[in-house]
Every structure is written in structure tokens, then in C-alpha cells.
Amino acid sequence: MSGYWAGILVILAINVIAAYSAWLPLAAGQVNLGTAGFMAVGAYAGAVLSGDYAWPLPYAIAAGAAASGALALLVGSAVLRARGLYLALATLAVNEVVRGILLNWDAVGGASGYPVIAHLELPPIALAALGVFLLAAWLGASRFGMTLHAIEQDETMTGLFGVHVPRTQLAAFAIGGALAGLAGALYAHHFSYIEAQYFTVLLSVTIVLSVVLGGVQTVWGPLVGAAFFTLLPELFRGASNWRYVLFAAAVIGIMALRPQGIVTRAALMRLTGRKPA
């Protein structure tokens, strides 16, 4: 495999993990625009542990995911009281707070960034993405996944079934936060250098967009959305500076034709002739 394609596949794998991190809360109707902030926490925590503290790589990466998951749990218990647009704004603020702290924290390099010594190649990153996909598929098919969809549709009614709605939403948000941290830690250890400026709100928005474009109703949506957002700009590379215009036009076209996302439950049922997982 050429270095060029290996590089693209690494980005794809990381984007897939990030997409599932945003998908879990989205499935319960919550827009998390702080995904990049949680990625940053995972990236910095993982890099500091593998670098300054010389932890073995798997442990450092797992700890990065755990750190951002814990932060999501903490932040989630406060901001999940907010609904809809207000929740989106609150998570967006979280993203900026995290970025602002990292930008001014000299121990992790501040504005000049943080070099990462330990290095990861494609295979373990791809394996992690596969694992996240399987985890998401399992969660999606479980009672938990059904509950998320039910909450997304009718929170009051779902509460009446005896579902503890805030706790379920918090769980989705926290698992999503941990997955974002995993994506960030993997990113840090492949690109060997991280800086706070990479983890902007724009990245969070792009991740959420990729999930919405792929479709939030099934476990396949984030995968398709992430692939679309990663690969399509590459296909248009020949058009040089026009490629982002072409890409944006393609995004608008798809949203117009498939407002529920590329992969919907109904489409999967038609395709397989049975109930999708």
C-alpha cells in the first residue's frame, strides 16, 4: 500500500471513531459540538502519559480515552440539563474552554504544541476503528440503543416507560466522550505532534455534519458519513482549489435528496427485507 493511501486510511479510521463518538448522543437527540475538545483531552492526556511518564502505548491511549470520558461525565451532568440549541451552544463552549486551557498551558507546550514521541502505524488504528464499530453495532442493537432512539423521538413518553432519561443521555454522552478521547489519542500518536489549534469547533461541527449526512438512525450512518467526508475531498483532488466547492455542492445535494441522511432505517429494511440490527 502506498504511503498516500495508508495516510488516508489512518484519517478515515480516526474520523470513523470520532463519528461514533458524536453519533451516540445524536441518536438520543443531543447535538454535541464539543467533540474536538474531548479529542484534545484524549490526545494530550495520552501523549503526556506515553511521553513524559513513559507509559506503554496501549495504556496511555486507554487512559486518554478514560480521561476524556470522565470529563464528559462531569461536563455532561451539568450541560445535559440544556436542550436543543442551548445544549449545542454549551458543548461548543466546552470545546473552546478545553482549547483555551491547552493553548495557555506551558507544561504541554502552550501555543507551540506538544511533540509526541511514540508512534502508531495504520494497523492498530484500523483495528481500533473496527472495535469501535463493533461496539457501536452492539450498543445500537441492545436495549440501550432502542432506548436512545425512543428518547430521541418522545422524551416524555419514554420516561413514562420507566426509562431514566437523564441518566441514559448522560451515559451516551460519556461513552461518546471516551470514544472522542480515543480518536484524539490515536491521532496524537500517528501524527507525532499535537497543537490546541487543531481541535477547533470547526472540527466538531465537521464531525457532527458527517454523522448527520451519513444518517443517525442506524449504526451504518456514521461509517458512511465519515467515509464520505474523508474520501470525497480526495477524489476531487484533481480539481485542485475547486475541490472544496465540489465537495460542498455534493453535501448540499445529498442533504436535499436524503434529508434523513444517506443510510436510514427504512432504506436498510428495504435492502435486507427484514429488521436491521
Binding site: M146, T147, H149, Q153, M157, L160, F161, G162
Partner: protein, 235 residues
């Protein structure tokens, strides 16, 4: 089995329920009548614990449940079939039924689902379809089937005939009668006063949040005020 005393509730400054008391006996059907805005749905919401700041007390199966949360009341067998059915349209029929059983500590078996499908053959054929494709009547049946999955002891039905054709309305009322014949206690809120009075033993008429008439349904059918206001007869 359900005793509510001096219930009151308000939406902000607007009083929606004012000192309403009622008792539903074991295996009984009780009807609540009233015009739009009389407080019928608010009464059910209050009984289920969904009205913040509500006053009065509720006893269910001999226990004071006034302080319990709505899911906790559901777990004890007080189950609501809400106005407008509120089925989860993007979930399948079977998933809707499973959600109905969520509050139970045990997992419902296939036999239990089959019992629901036996009763509602239309649902059986559509079990893996999205609930959104069902007709209004089928959605009402699904909402009732879903409530039954919670193993209720008392079902509260809010306007089950809303938006249904006369034929489907008759089907829903036949279902209510058969559930009651099997021993289910039912609290029925209904705008179709004649059907509701015929289907029930006791009835309560709400006006502007207050109980204005209460008594055996057979007597209310002959009551001049009720006939004039709700049954379309000249007073």
C-alpha cells in the same frame, strides 16, 4: 384500588384542576367526561405524577403513591395510554411493545408478545414495520398493547376514540369491554359521552377543573344536565 382526594393542579397561574376526588374500584370502568379544557387530561397527568406542584393525595392498591415518580407509579401497575397514542413512529411495532415492558424487572418472553399479537392480529402482520406506517386505529391498538406489556393493574385511557372512524371507535370500545371482562380496572377519559357512559359503571363530569357531577353512569345517562350538555339532548 385507586383513590384520589382533593387533587389540584395548575399550569403557571392557570388553575386546571380544583379539588377533584375520585375512587376507581377493582375491576371497574370509570369514565371522566367534560369539554375541551375541562381538565380531563390534567387529571390523568396528576394521577400519574406528571404535574409539578400538584396538590392532594393519591392512593393505589392501598398504598400512598403521592410522592412517587411517574415511572415508579407505572411499575406499580398504573399505566397511561396517552392522548394521540404517542407511539414511537420510527421504531418497529415490536420495539414499541418492548419499550412498554421497559419498567418491568423481568424481561418479557415471546409468549407474552404472542399474546398481544393474538389479540391484535393487525399488529402481528406488521410487527417488524415502523409504527409510523400504521393507521390511526392500529396505532391506538399498539398504544393499548404497549400499555399491557407493562402488566398494568389499572389502565388510564386518554381519548382513545380521538380521530377514529365510528367503526374503529366501536372496535376500541369492544376492546375496553373485553379487557374489563378479564378483570382490568380502567379509567377512561372520553369526549364521546354516550359511548363512555355506556361503557362505564361510574362517571365523573369535569367543568373548568371542578367535578360538577359524579355517580353511577346509568344515572348520569338520565341526568338532565348531562343530557343537555354532553349527550346533545334538549335539557
Amino acid at each position: 384500588m385507586l383513590e384520589a382526594a382533593h387533587l389540584s393542579a395548575a399550569y403557571g397561574p392557570v388553575r386546571a384542576l380544583d379539588d377533584v376526588s375520585l375512587t376507581v374500584g377493582q375491576g371497574e370502568v370509570m369514565a371522566v367526561l367534560g369539554a375541551n379544557g375541562a381538565g380531563k387530561s390534567t387529571l390523568l397527568r396528576t394521577l400519574l405524577g406528571l404535574m409539578p406542584g400538584a396538590g392532594g393525595s393519591v392512593r393505589f392498591l392501598g398504598e400512598d403513591i403521592t410522592k412517587l415518580s411517574a415511572p415508579e407509579r407505572v411499575r406499580r401497575g398504573l399505566v397511561l395510554v396517552p392522548e394521540g397514542r404517542r407511539v414511537l413512529t420510527s421504531l418497529t411495532v415490536e420495539e414499541n411493545l418492548l419499550m412498554g415492558a421497559y419498567t418491568r424487572r423481568d424481561t418479557p418472553g415471546q409468549a407474552e408478545l404472542d399474546a398481544i399479537y393474538d389479540r391484535f392480529s393487525n399488529l402481528a402482520a406488521r410487527r417488524h414495520m415502523k409504527a409510523g406506517v400504521l393507521s390511526g386505529g392500529e396505532q391506538q391498538m399498539l398504544a393499548i398493547g404497549r400499555a399491557m406489556m407493562a402488566k398494568p393493574k389499572l389502565i388510564m385511557l386518554d381519548e382513545p376514540s380521538l380521530g377514529l372512524s365510528p367503526r374503529l371507535t366501536a372496535e376500541v370500545f369492544a376492546l375496553i369491554a373485553s379487557l374489563n371482562a378479564e378483570g382490568m380496572s380502567i379509567l377512561l377519559v372520553e369526549q364521546n359521552a354516550l359511548l363512555a357512559l355506556e361503557a362505564s359503571r361510574q362517571a365523573l363530569v369535569l367543568e373548568l377543573g371542578r367535578a360538577v357531577v359524579a355517580g353511577p353512569s346509568a344515572e348520569l345517562l338520565k341526568d338532565d344536565r348531562v343530557r343537555g350538555a354532553y349527550l346533545g339532548a334538549a335539557a
